[in-house]
């Protein structure tokens, strides 16, 4: 067992173990793969699936910290704007003569600062919910991005920069390796450290945590800063993939990310959920959308299917809990 909930001293039960959202995700993932293989003769081959991961993994970097944010019981809808702002600043600096390596570092710093600002505002103005604060910064960050580039696109990066979005290392896309790396780090952070356990505690009851000596504000600021940092990582990969950037880049990413987190079984009320669920959800939505794309299903159809899955994901824990209450 792990720190999924605070009550983890219950005896291990095989039934309980298998009746979990994460297992259901695995089952759905298998069904999706079988379905896709049957639908399209082009789906089930190494190269297709390998290259498909390059298309959907960029936003997956933000899914990882978003899991932490949502277990805290908060939400961050400014992440897509942070992607745009850090990407635009990186491109603009490069065009002003800053070396690309330095521009990337600054991009990561900009993202972190955006996240820090979110976190500080949220802990300073406790009467405001994180939705409201990040809604405001979402507009502000995107606005600054527009002020910098106006309506222009900036491209023509050095040749090596396309490495992040398009290259392979030992036959595996670099973006997949990078995602695996971060996924392990974040899983360990959430499930194996005191920091992670405190995130669950805050999500379950922030007042009680505060009285037990948990530095709630500090943890929140760190988590939001991590979200900003990972948004900047996304900015690097996305910009590299597109070879150019513009202020409206990554539009709608925040909703995709939140959808993946919710589908991953992370409670919107906070305090519940596991990293592995969100990671499975990333691949589930990614491969589902790729498979449907291969048979040229209209884009709206995918939205409907993901919507249904989401309702389903929110519904299951409710069923589960109602059942547990009765002896």
């Amino acid at each position: 067992m792990d720190a999924r909930t605070l009550q983890h001293n219950k005896p291990f039960s095989v039934k309980q173990f298998f009746f979990q959202w994460e297992w259901l995700l695995v089952v759905i993932l298998i069904i999706v793969n079988v379905m896709n293989t049957n639908l399209s003769p082009y789906y089930w081959n190494f190269e297709s699936i390998r290259d498909a991961t390059m298309s959907f993994l960029d936003k997956a970097f933000i899914v990882l910290p978003m899991v932490l944010v949502m277990i805290l019981g908060d939400i961050d809808i400014s992440v897509a704007s942070t992607v745009a702002l850090s990407s635009v600043i990186m491109a603009d600096l490069y065009h002003r003569g800053v070396p690309m390596e330095l521009a990337i570092v600054i991009c990561l710093i900009v993202g972190t600062v955006c996240g820090l600002v979110n976190g500080l505002l949220i802990v300073k103005f406790k009467e405001l919910s994180s939705v409201i604060v990040t809604l405001a910064t979402m507009i502000i960050y995107r606005g600054i991005a527009y002020m910098i580039l106006e309506d222009q696109a900036k491209g023509q990066f050095p040749e090596w920069f396309s490495f992040f979005g398009w290259e392979y290392v030992g036959g595996v896309p670099f973006i997949l390796i990078a995602f695996a790396f971060f996924a392990v780090i974040y899983s360990l952070l959430l499930h194996k450290t005191t920091f992670g356990r405190r995130i669950y505690a805050i999500g379950n009851n922030s007042t009680a945590s505060r009285f037990s000596g948990v530095q709630v504000d500090k943890i929140k600021v760190i988590v939001f800063a991590l979200a900003g940092l990972m948004a900047a990582v996304t900015a690097v990969f996305l910009t590299s993939r597109m070879g150019s950037t513009r202020p409206n880049v990554a539009t709608g990413y925040e909703l995709d990310v939140i959808a993946m987190v919710v589908l991953g079984g992370i409670s919107t009320a906070g305090g519940k959920g596991r990293m592995i669920g969100a990671i499975l959800a990333v691949f589930l939505i990614g491969l589902l959308s790729y498979g449907l794309g291969l048979v040229n299903v209209p884009a709206q159809m995918l939205l409907i299917i993901v919507g249904l899955l989401l309702i389903f994901a929110v519904m299951i824990p409710k069923l589960n809990r109602a059942k547990l209450r009765k002896p």
């Binding site: 009746f19 396309s162 790729y290 040229n296 209209p298």
Partner: protein, 356 residues
Amino acid sequence: MKKLLSTCLTAVLTLSMLAGCGSNNGAAPASGSKPADSTAKPADSGAKSKHAIIFKNTGNPYGEKQMEGFKNAITELGGEAILKAPDQPTAEAQIKMIEELISQKVSSIAIAANDPDALQPALKKAMNAGIKVLSLDSAVNAQSRLVHVNQADPERIGRVQVQAISEMIGGKGEIVVLSATSQATNQNTWIEWMKKELTDPKYKDIKLVKVAYGDDLRDKSVSEAEALLKSYPDLKGIIAPTTVGIAAAGKVLTDKGLKGKVQLTGLGLPSEMAQYIESGVSQWMYLWNPVDVGYLAGYTADALVKGTITGKVGDKFKAGRLGDKQIIADGSGTQIMLGDPFKFDAKNIGEWKKVY
């Protein structure tokens, strides 16, 4: 017991949902799997080739017509057309679709781009995989395509609109241009040609006082149009070379009762502009036929795949009912022109408003 029940329920729901989306696509893969066997041997000249078109986004009537024209052409040629459009008008979504098409081993991809440069790596990957890439309507940069299918000659579009407004206002007075975004490549080229046309001495009494940008957003275009009318009380004419802008200007002129006092022309969709053309707020306007743009792209794609043309200047081919077409230079790349813009007035708007 309850647990078991809800587990079963969950499983059934999942399966039915996925089965549901599976059966919905039943038709698409059925037709997709058949030529798949034949395209496995691309050397076979008798193979039914697959041609894909990617428009900017879904739910755009103009785009639907373009894709319809493309499909008509491909069907005439005996190929299979794949029509795709992302739900958001972004380059990111189009890159994903290009990847899907590369995996499907299509013969050609025609794209109306959401960004001229951002698709370059993806389209280059497609070309390296042996897929013929062309753009239509909204171009990608010259390195990302073999040829661009252009709606109409930009020079003619620019010049014709100035000639029209001059005729409407009697060759005298202040005019403005209400465009899309300041970065729209199409619009800016047309505006350049308008300015060149205006240097002709016969327009010496016409003064272009401002170029405003409504960003192709309806509310912004409306407020820009209102602001123009306030800033230039003597304004005689508005040229709006964008479908959103001209409809917004038509609405403002109608609401303010300025019909006949301020003239309006530009490029508009017949279905949106019919009411203003019938009421006389705009006497006439221009556009090309999007069905024909798609149709021409379909024949171009086929000619590229068959090797009739390679995308070089001077290449010639026959584009079905549109007749003979020739590839001409376009900056550092090449393009094919559909022809002159088409004039819509009170006489023909009635029949066209039903088309698009």
